[in-house]
């Protein structure tokens, strides 16, 4: 995983609440054995009509969404299925961070494992961001993981929570599987002690 420190990105908003991972990537696109090309099918059923033509009203088809790296999403984003294809598809489109008031647990875990930063903000900030994204199609936000801050265009800095372990992993590109593999002696000892 590539380390993340800070970045400034074009920001777009999808205010729908309770967006489930079936919307992020419909199940029929899960018949794959790798992670390639998933960005092309992200939000497929909202992005394209029954004939496969782009729906011009959907956010990601609007010209200003091209090149967006930050998505302000509605409350409880990523609920439902555990498919890690959801963060893979969002990253495939180009997103590096998702901002919401709450993420579903498994989606949040999956995102952190892939360096897609889930940023939780309070309701008032969230509403402000949704409004800003409507007013300004070229909205840019600055994310600084080191200081855990999101900087708004007016200069206001909003702190966001992230547990220290996940932060370290993201800042340094730590590979969690590698970390666990280095615990092998503790795991062996546990198995012996518990007759596993």
């Amino acid at each position: 995983m590539e380390p993340i420190k800070s970045f400034t990105g074009k920001t777009v908003a999808l205010p729908n609440t309770d967006v489930d991972t079936d919307q992020i990537i419909p199940a029929r696109y899960l018949k794959v054995t790798d992670k390639k090309g998933l960005g092309e099918v992200v939000f497929y059923d909202w992005r394209y009509d029954a004939d496969g033509n782009p729906n011009p009203d959907f956010l990601l088809n609007k010209p200003h969404a091209a090149g967006a790296t930050i998505l302000v999403a509605g409350h409880n984003f990523g609920c439902g299925s555990s498919r890690e294809h959801a963060p893979w598809a969002l990253q495939g489109f180009g997103f590096q961070a998702i901002v919401s008031t709450q993420f579903a647990d498994i989606f949040r875990n999956n995102s952190l494992k892939n360096g897609l930063l889930p940023i939780v903000v309070d309701k008032a900030t969230h509403e402000q961001l949704l409004d800003l994204a409507v007013e300004d199609p070229d909205l840019q936000l600055e994310v600084d993981l080191e200081t855990q801050t999101l900087t708004l265009p007016d200069g206001r800095r909003v702190e966001f929570p992230i547990d220290s372990f996940s932060k370290e992993c993201l800042l340094n590109g730590v590979d969690e599987l590698g970390y666990l593999l280095r615990q092998t002696s503790a795991i062996e000892e546990y198995e012996k002690r518990n007759n596993k």
Partner: protein
């Protein structure tokens, strides 16, 4: 532990901590990983890329369920992508020395159906699978939860996961269910009450007289949909119902080992005085059969109630969500769903495809015919469930009523395998998700119990099962 009262969850959590470094998540030992074809290929690729083996093939069991057709097993798979994914699963099982129940196995089935029926699922265990409905196994007093593919790789490689301790929520269901009201209605009522985000960050423990009165199948239905309320897992303390379900199953302990296991399992229930972070109460006496009207499982109502009005909702985002859902579902606020036509009835999925579910549906359909122009699919959860149902003659009841009797798999719950709704069609489904397009692009899903689905199959319109019970 020094007499500090602990919950069922805390006892299992504590017993599985390998280590806990300051500031880091716990390293949690996983007793059993279940694997299926959809969420595992990239995990095995990760192991191959690193040149590592599966640490404990003996604690890893695979099957195929999501992308397999439910038509005659002797026919070839027509979907090239699905066929490739299945071949990859078989190759991974072979290369990494993992036990697999493949498409032609007589023990194949939905991963959350076969774990319990083979006796693999046992109280006190930690169980994971790359599937959010892994919460099903919590019905046996296990800590069982869904994980992503990166975590599947971690468990394959190390038999452990990095986990932060979740909070606990006790859902107490008191009283007793009335006729025609089942486990599915308990869980749909709970999710309607707490919302699809109500359990986020929590592990739910279900307790109370209405839970104790459930069979293991009913308990699995309840724990299965914990994730639909946002919870990490759902659990029910093991008791004699649990032990008698497990006894004699293929992988259950035998002889002296059985006695020792039961003695151990009896220590698991929550101690008197143990505290939960949240408590929710539900009165079973007041429950009716439930049905959903919208596009998440929290959008549910008692079957005799009316579809809610978005204009009555204060929160602007919730109001917009309900507007969007009613538009997608093409439903009017203030109307009852009773009498609403359906095109398809789906009885199956890891929520409601076990023998007890099929008996409930067959009991309603016995000696009757399904309504004309309604497609009724009955998809048993496993080949073992299928055989059992056939021994009991349930398949005959379904076939004579005009329903399709299929091979085991996830089928139209996730619509990856060709079993799907056409755009605009309505289904009443015993599955767990009514998300937009879940059962096929443009398809519209009403979630309900097997009894409600069967009653609806007979009339071709949404029907209160209590009106057809003799």
């Amino acid at each position: 532990m020094n007499g500090t009262p602990r919950t069922l969850f805390e006892k299992i959590w504590d017993a599985h901590i390998v280590s806990q470094a300051e500031g880091a998540p716990a390293i949690l030992y996983i007793d059993l990983q279940l694997v299926h074809e959809v969420t595992s290929p990239q995990a095995f690729t990760e192991l191959r890329n690193r040149g590592i083996k599966v640490r404990r093939p003996d604690r890893t069991v695979a099957t195929v369920d999501h992308s397999i057709p439910t038509y005659d097993r002797s026919l070839p798979i027509m979907d090239a992508l699905a066929a490739k994914q299945l071949e990859q699963m078989y190759a991974n099982a072979r290369d990494f020395n993992i036990r697999i129940y493949d498409r032609l196995s007589d023990k194949q089935g939905i991963v959350h159906v076969i774990g319990p029926e083979l006796g693999l699922t046992q109280p006190g265990m930690t169980i994971v699978c790359g599937d959010s409905h892994t919460s099903t196994h919590g019905a046996f007093g296990t800590l069982a939860f869904g994980i992503g593919t990166s975590e599947v790789a971690m468990v394959l490689a190390t038999q452990t996961l990095l986990q932060r301790k979740p909070k606990t929520m006790n859902v107490r269901v008191t009283g007793a269910l009335g006729q025609g009201v089942t486990a599915k209605d308990i869980i749909l009522a709970l999710i309607a009450k707490i919302g699809v985000d109500g359990g986020t960050g929590h592990v739910i423990e279900y307790s109370g007289s209405a839970i104790r009165a459930q069979t293991m199948e009913g308990r699995m239905t309840i724990c299965n949909m914990s994730i639909e309320g946002g919870a990490r897992a759902g659990m029910i303390a093991p008791d004699d119902v649990t032990f008698s379900y497990i006894a004699g199953r293929e992988f259950a302990p035998k002889g002296a080992d059985w006695d020792a296991a039961v003695a151990r399992w009896k220590q698991l229930p929550t101690d008197d005085g143990a505290q939960y972070d949240a408590v929710v109460e539900l009165d079973a006496n007041a429950l009716e059969p439930m049905i959903t009207y919208g596009n998440n499982p929290g959008m549910g109502i008692p079957i005799t109630a009316r579809v809610p009005d978005p204009d009555a909702i204060g929160d602007v985002h919730q109001k917009a969500a309900l507007h969007k859902a009613l538009q997608y579902m093409d439903l009017q606020p203030g109307r009852s769903l009773i009498g609403h036509p359906v095109n398809v009835v789906f009885i199956g999925s890891c929520t409601n495809s076990r023998i007890g579910d099929l008996r409930l549906a067959a009991n309603v359909m016995k000696g009757k015919r399904v309504a004309p122009n309604v497609r009724v699919m009955v998809v048993p959860g496993s080949q073992q469930v299928k055989r059992q149902a056939e021994q009991e003659g349930l398949d005959k009841i379904f076939r004579e009523a005009g329903a399709e009797w299929r091979e085991a798999g996830c089928s139209m719950c996730i619509a990856m395998n060709g079993d799907q709704l056409a755009p605009g069609e309505y289904s009443i489904s015993t599955s767990n998700r009514n998300f937009e397009g879940r059962q096929g692009k443009g398809g519209r899903t009403f979630l309900a119990s097997p009894m409600t689905a069967a009653a609806t199959a007979i009339h071709g319109v949404v029907t209160d099962p209590r009106t057809v019970l003799s």
